[in-house]
C-alpha cells in the first residue's frame, strides 16, 4: 500500500500544499453535506406530495395536469374517506383492535417464555428456543393457506382475534428473541434477594423482572403494533366482510372502487396519510426502541 519512508501529503508542513489540502477537504465536506441534504429531500418529497394531495379540494385533487400544491386547503379527501363504504371509524377500530390484541398476545406468550428460557434449567432449552423461532424459516405467506382453512373451521375468519393470532405468529421469533435477551441481562442479585425474601417464581417475575424489562416490553409492543397495523395479506385473506376490514385493506379497495368514477386520489392520499400517522408518531417518540429493535433483530 505505501512504502514505509514516504510521508503522507498532509504531513508536509506549511505552504501551498497544505492550504490546497485543507481547501479540498472543506470543499469535500460541503459537497457531502449537500448530498445529505439532497438525500433528505428525496426521501421526504413523496410523503410531502401525498399529504399535500390529501389536503386539496376535490376539484384540485382531480386536476389535470396535477397541481404541485393545493391553492386552497381543504379536508374534502378526509371527509370522503370518513364515509367510504363501511366508514373510516370502522377501519380504524379494526386496525387498532387487531394491533392491540397482537400486543397483548405477544406479551402474554413471550414474557413467560423469556423468563423460562433465561432463568430455568429446562432440558432441551436450546431446542425449544429454536422451535419458537420456527416462523423465521417458514414464511407466513406460505402458511396463510392452511391457517385460513383452520380458521374457517374454527370460525375465526372475519374476526379481529383471528387476525391478531396470525400477526402474533409472525412476530413470535422477534419477540421471543428480544424477551429472552432482556431477561438474561437482568442481574442475578436482584432475583436472589427476592428469593431469600421467600418469593415464589411468579412473584419474582412480577416484582423483580417486569420492572427491569420495561424497555423490552416497549420494543416488543412497538414492533407488534406496527407489524399488525401495516399488514395486508393476512387481512386480505381472513376478512371478506367489509365491516371487519382493516385500514390497509380498505385502502387497497379504494385503489380501484371509488365513488367518483376513476380513482379518488385525494381520498386515497388522505387514507395513506392517516395510516402513516401512528407509525410515524411511534417512530419519532420511540426512535431509540425502534433502532435498537431493528439492530437486535438483525443480530439473530
Amino acid at each position: 500500500m505505501t512504502a514505509v519512508n514516504t510521508l503522507p501529503d498532509h504531513a508536509y508542513a506549511g505552504g501551498a500544499r497544505e492550504a490546497f489540502t485543507r481547501l479540498w477537504e472543506s470543499r469535500t465536506k460541503y459537497l457531502l453535506g449537500a448530498i445529505c441534504v439532497a438525500l433528505c429531500i428525496v426521501m421526504l418529497t413523496p410523503l410531502v406530495i401525498s399529504i399535500l394531495e390529501s389536503l386539496k379540494t376535490t376539484e384540485e385533487a382531480a386536476a389535470l395536469p396535477p397541481l404541485y400544491y393545493p391553492h386552497v386547503l381543504s379536508l374534502d379527501g378526509y371527509r370522503r374517506l370518513w364515509n367510504f363504504q363501511a366508514g373510516l371509524p370502522v377501519y380504524l377500530f379494526n386496525s387498532t383492535g387487531a394491533a392491540l390484541l397482537t400486543i397483548v398476545f405477544c406479551l402474554a406468550l413471550t414474557i413467560p417464555a423469556g423468563y423460562a428460557l433465561a432463568r430455568f434449567p429446562i432440558r432441551g432449552k436450546e431446542g425449544f428456543f429454536v422451535f419458537l423461532l420456527l416462523s423465521l424459516i417458514i414464511p407466513y405467506q406460505a402458511l396463510v393457506n392452511p391457517i385460513f382453512f383452520m380458521f374457517a373451521k374454527l370460525q375465526l375468519t372475519n374476526s379481529l382475534v383471528g387476525l391478531a393470532i396470525l400477526h402474533t405468529a409472525i412476530q413470535m421469533p422477534f419477540s421471543v428473541y428480544v424477551m429472552r435477551n432482556s431477561f438474561e441481562a437482568v442481574p442475578r442479585e436482584l432475583e436472589e434477594a427476592a428469593v431469600m425474601d421467600g418469593c415464589n417464581s411468579w412473584q419474582v417475575l412480577v416484582r423483580v423482572f417486569l420492572p427491569a424489562i420495561v424497555p423490552a416490553i416497549i420494543t416488543v409492543s412497538l414492533f407488534a403494533f406496527v407489524t399488525s397495523w401495516n399488514e395486508l395479506l393476512g387481512a386480505l385473506v381472513m376478512m371478506n366482510n367489509s365491516s371487519t376490514f382493516t385500514l390497509p385493506l380498505a385502502l387497497a379497495i379504494a385503489r380501484t372502487q371509488t365513488s367518483i368514477g376513476g380513482t379518488d386520489w385525494g381520498m386515497l392520499q388522505a387514507g395513506i396519510t392517516i395510516s402513516i400517522i401512528p407509525s410515524l408518531a411511534f417512530y419519532l417518540l420511540l426512535q431509540k426502541y425502534y433502532v435498537s429493535g431493528f439492530l437486535s433483530g438483525a443480530v439473530k
Binding site: 500500500m1 505505501t2 514516504t6 503522507p8 501529503d9 445529505c36 441534504v37 438525500l39 428525496v42 426521501m43 421526504l44 413523496p46 401525498s50 394531495e53 389535470l64 395536469p65 396535477p66 402474554a108 406468550l109 413471550t110 413467560p112 417464555a113 423468563y115 432463568r119 430455568f120 434449567p121 429446562i122 422451535f131 419458537l132 420456527l134 416462523s135 414464511p139 405467506q141 406460505a142 402458511l143 396463510v144 393457506n145 392452511p146 382453512f149 383452520m150 402474533t168 405468529a169 417464581s201 417475575l205 397495523w229 401495516n230 395486508l232 395479506l233 385473506v237 387497497a252 385503489r255 380513482t263 386520489w265 387514507g271 395513506i272 407509525s279 410515524l280 433502532v291 431493528f294 439492530l295
Partner: protein
C-alpha cells in the same frame, strides 16, 4: 436457584408460547403438506390426488412466469439495496448533527407501512395524475407522459423497484452504519497515518470488517424480495396479463379467489422450499467466510 422442580415450573412458563407456535405455525406446516396432496375446497370433502398438484405446477406456465419474474425482481433489487445502502451508510456514518438527522430521515420510509408506500407510489407513477410524469415533463426529461403500469413489464418492474428502494434502503443503511461504527477507531487512524486514501480505507478496512452485516442484509433482502406481495398486488395488480404477479401473488390467486386450496397448498410448499433453500445457502456461505 431452582432445583428439579425448577425444570417443571420452567416448562410451565414456556408452555403457552410452545403451544401457540405448535398450533399456529408447526401444525399449519403439516396441514399445508397434507393439503397439497389433496383436492381441497371448503365445501366438498377432500380428495386424495397425491403429487398431481405438484405436477400441475410444473406444467403451469403461469407458475414459471411468476417464478421467473420474482427471481428477476430479486436479482435486480438486491444489489441496488446493498450498494446503495452501503454508500449511504458511508456517507452518514459519522456522528455530526447533519449526518444523524439524515439517518433519521432516510429511515422514515422504513417505518410507514408497505401498503401505504405502495399506494403512494402507485399514485406518483399514475399516467395522468402522477407527479413522476409531471416533474419529468416539466424538467424536460420525458417528452410525453409514460405509462408505468399495465403495459410494459419492464417499466412496471422498475417503478416498483424504485418505490421499494425508497422504502427499505434505510434498513440496510441502519445496519451498515452500526457495523461501520463498530470498527475500532484506531484501525482507521493507523490507516490514515499510513497514507491510505479514503477509498482504500473503505476497500481494505471497512468492507472486510463489515462482511457479516453485508451478508445479513443480503439475506433479508433476498428473502423479502422472493416473498414480495403487497407492492405488486397494489401497484401492478399482476398486469399486464399476470406477468407481474410474483410467486406469493400467484399462490394467493390460486388459493383464494379460485378457492383451489389444495393447489394453493402445493404452491405454498414449493415456495417455502425455495425460500428455505436460499436461506440455508446463504447461511452456509456466511459460515464459510468465517472459517
Amino acid at each position: 436457584m431452582h432445583s428439579t422442580t425448577g425444570r417443571y415450573v420452567g416448562l410451565l412458563y414456556l408452555a403457552p408460547a410452545l403451544v401457540f407456535v405448535a398450533a399456529f405455525t408447526a401444525f399449519p406446516v403439516l396441514q399445508m403438506l397434507w393439503m397439497s396432496l389433496h383436492n381441497w375446497s371448503l365445501i366438498e370433502p377432500p380428495k386424495w390426488v397425491g403429487f398431481a398438484d405438484y405436477v400441475k405446477a410444473y406444467r403451469d406456465s403461469q407458475f414459471w412466469t411468476s417464478l421467473r419474474f420474482t427471481l428477476t425482481y430479486t436479482l435486480y433489487i438486491t444489489p441496488i439495496l446493498m450498494i446503495g445502502g452501503f454508500l449511504i451508510a458511508l456517507l452518514v456514518a459519522q456522528n455530526t448533527n447533519l449526518r444523524r438527522f439524515t439517518r433519521a430521515v432516510v429511515f422514515v420510509p422504513v417505518v410507514i407501512g408497505l401498503g401505504a408506500s405502495s399506494l403512494l407510489w402507485y399514485y406518483l407513477f399514475s399516467y395522468d395524475f402522477g407527479m413522476v410524469n409531471r416533474i419529468g415533463l416539466d424538467l424536460g426529461i420525458i417528452q410525453k407522459p409514460v405509462v408505468w403500469f399495465g403495459e410494459s413489464v419492464d417499466r412496471s418492474l422498475w417503478a416498483v423497484i424504485a418505490s421499494i428502494v425508497w422504502k427499505v434502503i434505510g434498513f440496510g443503511m441502519l445496519l451498515f452504519v452500526a457495523a461501520i461504527q463498530a470498527i475500532p477507531g484506531e484501525i482507521n487512524e493507523a490507516a490514515v497515518v499510513d497514507g491510505a486514501s479514503y477509498w482504500q480505507r473503505v476497500r481494505r478496512i471497512i468492507l472486510p470488517l463489515t462482511v457479516r452485516t453485508i451478508l445479513l442484509v443480503t439475506l433479508f433482502s433476498v428473502i423479502g424480495s422472493l416473498l414480495a406481495f403487497d407492492q405488486f398486488y397494489l401497484m401492478t395488480a399482476g398486469q399486464p396479463f399476470n406477468k407481474t404477479a410474483t410467486s406469493v401473488f400467484f399462490v394467493y390467486l390460486n388459493s383464494f379467489p379460485y378457492l383451489k386450496l389444495g393447489y394453493g397448498a402445493a404452491l405454498s410448499t414449493i415456495l417455502a422450499i425455495i425460500v428455505l433453500t436460499c436461506t440455508l445457502a446463504q447461511l452456509m456461505l456466511s459460515r464459510r467466510s468465517f472459517g
